[in-house]
Amino acid sequence: MGEDPARKPDYDAEVGAFCWFIWREVLTTGAMSEGPLLAVEDLRVCFRSGSEETEVVRGVSWSLDAGEILAVVGESGSGKSVTALALTRLLPPAPACVLAGKIFYRGEEVLGLPEKALRRLRGKEIAYVFQEPGTSLNPVYTVGFQLAEAIRRHCRAVRDVKNRMVELLEEVGIHEAASRLESYPHELSGGMQQRVMIAMALACEPRVLVADEPTTALDVTVQKQIMDLLARLRREHGMGIVLITHNFGVVANFADKVAVMFRGEIVERGPTAKILAAPQHPYTRALIGCIPRLGQRRERLVSIDRAEVGR
C-alpha cells in the first residue's frame, strides 16, 4: 500500500523473476515500504458441498510486521488453519470453497494474483509448517531427497546442499543428522517429522513463516530449542511468524501479540501480556481458565460450556 504501482514487478512476463529479484533487493536494503509485512482484511471462507454451505471464517483481520510473532489461539475447529491456508490460496478451488476479503503481502494484494505468481510466493517468501505432516512430507521419498529439493527449488545460491541439509537438521535438534537424511518419513518419530518439516520451511529463510501447531509432538525441552531458533531468526533476519498454537506456554514466552479465534471470528486481540493477564472477551477468559495446572490430580478439569460464552 502507498507504493508506486509502476514499480511493481510484472509477474506474467518472463522477466518477472528478474524484476522480483531486484524488487526484493531494493526492499531489503533499507528502502522498506511502510505498512505491515502481511495483512489480512475481512477474510471470509465458505465451504460448499451439495446444497450445504458453511462459512467457517467470518471476517477475520490481522496484520504482521517484519520481526514480529503473532500467535493465533482459539477453539479447535474455529478456522485457524483455514485462515492460514487462505493466505496463499492453498484451499480447494472455487465451487467447493469460496474466498472473499483481501490479503496484502508487503503492500500487494495476493488473493487476486495468478497461480504462477502465487507459486513464487509459496515456500520462498511465505513458508509453511503444515499441521498435517502428509501435506509436506511425501512417504515415498527420503528426508534427504525432500529437503534437497526444497533447498534447490527456493535458494539456488546454496552450493553445498548436503552440508546445508545437515546443518538444518542439527539446528532443529535431530541427532545423527547425516544418517537421518536416508530415512523415510515413517521411520521417524512424530516429533522428528515435525522438526524435518520445520527445517524444510526454514531452508531458504523465508520472510514469513506460517507455523500451524509446529510443536505439538515435541517435549518441553526440544520445544524450547525450536522456539529459540525461531526467535533468533526473527531477530536476526526480521522473519515474521504467524504461530498457530494451543500451547499457552509457547504463547507467553514467545509471542508479541495474540489473536483469539472462536467460531470463525477473532473475538479478541492484543499484546500477549495484556491478553494473558486481563482477557476481556468471555471466551478468552474461559479458555485461559481451562489451562491445566500441576497439582490437580483427579480433580475434574474445567471445560467451556459453549452456549455460555457465545453471543
Binding site: V82, Q131, P133, H175, S189, T221, Q296, R297
Partner: protein
C-alpha cells in the same frame, strides 16, 4: 496391588530397527528404538509415559498392539504372552486393545465417511447389534467427543486437525476395549476441548474400567490422569514412580529438566 489385577506386563521389551547398509557392505548395528523396557499396567488404572521426542514412546505403545517388530522381551496380556500369538489367534485382542494414534491424518481412511469409520469396528466386533443401534451409538460417540451427529456424513479431509484427533478417540472407545494406548491424544486440542476429553477418559475408566497407557508431553495432563508415570530417554525407562513422588522429588536429571521447563502459570502457587 495384587498380581491378579495386572492387565499388562511388559518384560525387557526390545524393538530394534535395522539400519541401512553402507556401501562397503558391512552391516551396521541395528537402531535400538526400545531397549529393555519393563513395566506393568494394573486393570482400571492409567500409566503415563513421558520422554524426549524420539525416545521410543510410540514404538513401545505400538508393540503392545503387535504393530512394531519386537526383537526381544515378553508382553503378557491378562496372563497370555501375546508376542507368541499368530495374527489369527491375536484377533480377539484387537477388540480388547485399541490405540489412539499420534498422527490423526494417516490413521483415518480418506475414502470413508466418519459414519463408516466408526461403524466398521462395531460391525466386526458386535455382530449382534442392529444397524439402527450402531447408528445411535456412532452419533452418541461423536457428541461425547464434542462433535455433532451431522458430521457422520463428512469425510476426514473436511475436518480440522483437532476434530480429526477426536474422531480417532471416538473410534478407539467405540468398541469398549479394556486397554487404550493413547499416543498424544490431546495434542491438537485447545485446552477446553482437551479438558473435556480428559474428563471423558476418566469417566470411562470409572464406569467401564478402561485402562490406559497415556503418552503425552503435557506434564500437567499426565499428572492429572496417571496412577504411575514412566519417563523414557533413548529407548530406556530412566525413572518410574507415582506422580506424587516423580513430580515432588524427581531423581533423574532428564525428569528434572522436563519439570523445570513447565511454564509458570501451570505451576500451583
Amino acid at each position: 496391588m495384587s498380581a491378579e489385577e495386572t492387565l499388562v506386563r511388559v518384560e525387557e521389551l526390545r524393538v530394534h530397527f535395522p539400519r541401512r547398509k553402507s556401501l562397503l557392505g558391512k552391516s551396521p548395528e541395528p537402531f535400538r528404538a526400545v531397549d529393555g523396557v519393563s513395566f506393568a499396567i494394573q486393570r482400571g488404572t492409567t500409566v503415563g509415559l513421558v520422554g524426549e521426542s524420539g525416545s521410543g514412546k510410540t514404538t513401545t505403545g505400538r508393540a503392545l498392539l503387535k504393530l512394531a517388530p519386537v526383537s526381544g522381551g515378553k508382553i503378557f496380556y491378562d496372563g497370555t504372552e501375546i508376542g507368541a500369538l499368530s495374527s489369527a489367534a491375536f484377533f480377539p485382542w484387537r477388540k480388547r486393545i485399541q490405540m489412539i494414534f499420534q498422527d490423526p491424518y494417516n490413521s483415518l481412511n480418506p475414502r470413508l465417511t466418519i459414519g463408516r469409520i466408526l461403524d466398521e469396528p462395531l460391525e466386526i466386533h458386535f455382530p449382534q447389534m442392529t444397524v439402527a443401534e450402531r447408528e445411535a451409538r456412532c452419533a452418541d460417540l461423536l457428541c461425547r467427543v464434542g462433535l455433532s451427529p451431522d458430521h457422520l456424513r463428512r469425510y476426514p479431509h473436511e475436518f480440522s486437525g483437532g476434530q480429526r484427533q477426536r474422531i480417532g478417540i471416538a473410534r478407539a472407545i467405540a468398541v469398549e476395549p479394556e486397554l487404550i494406548v493413547c499416543d498424544e491424544p490431546v495434542s491438537a486440542l485447545d485446552v477446553s476441548v482437551q479438558a473435556q476429553i480428559v474428563n471423558l477418559l476418566a469417566d470411562l475408566q470409572a464406569e467401564l474400567g478402561f485402562s490406559y497407557l497415556f503418552i503425552a508431553h503435557d506434564l500437567a495432563v499426565v499428572e492429572h490422569l496417571s496412577d504411575w508415570v514412566l519417563v523414557m530417554e533413548r529407548g530406556k525407562i530412566v525413572e518410574q514412580s507415582t506422580p506424587e513422588e516423580l513430580y515432588g522429588d524427581p531423581k533423574h536429571p532428564y525428569t528434572r529438566q522436563l519439570l523445570a521447563a513447565v511454564p509458570f502459570f501451570q505451576k500451583t502457587v
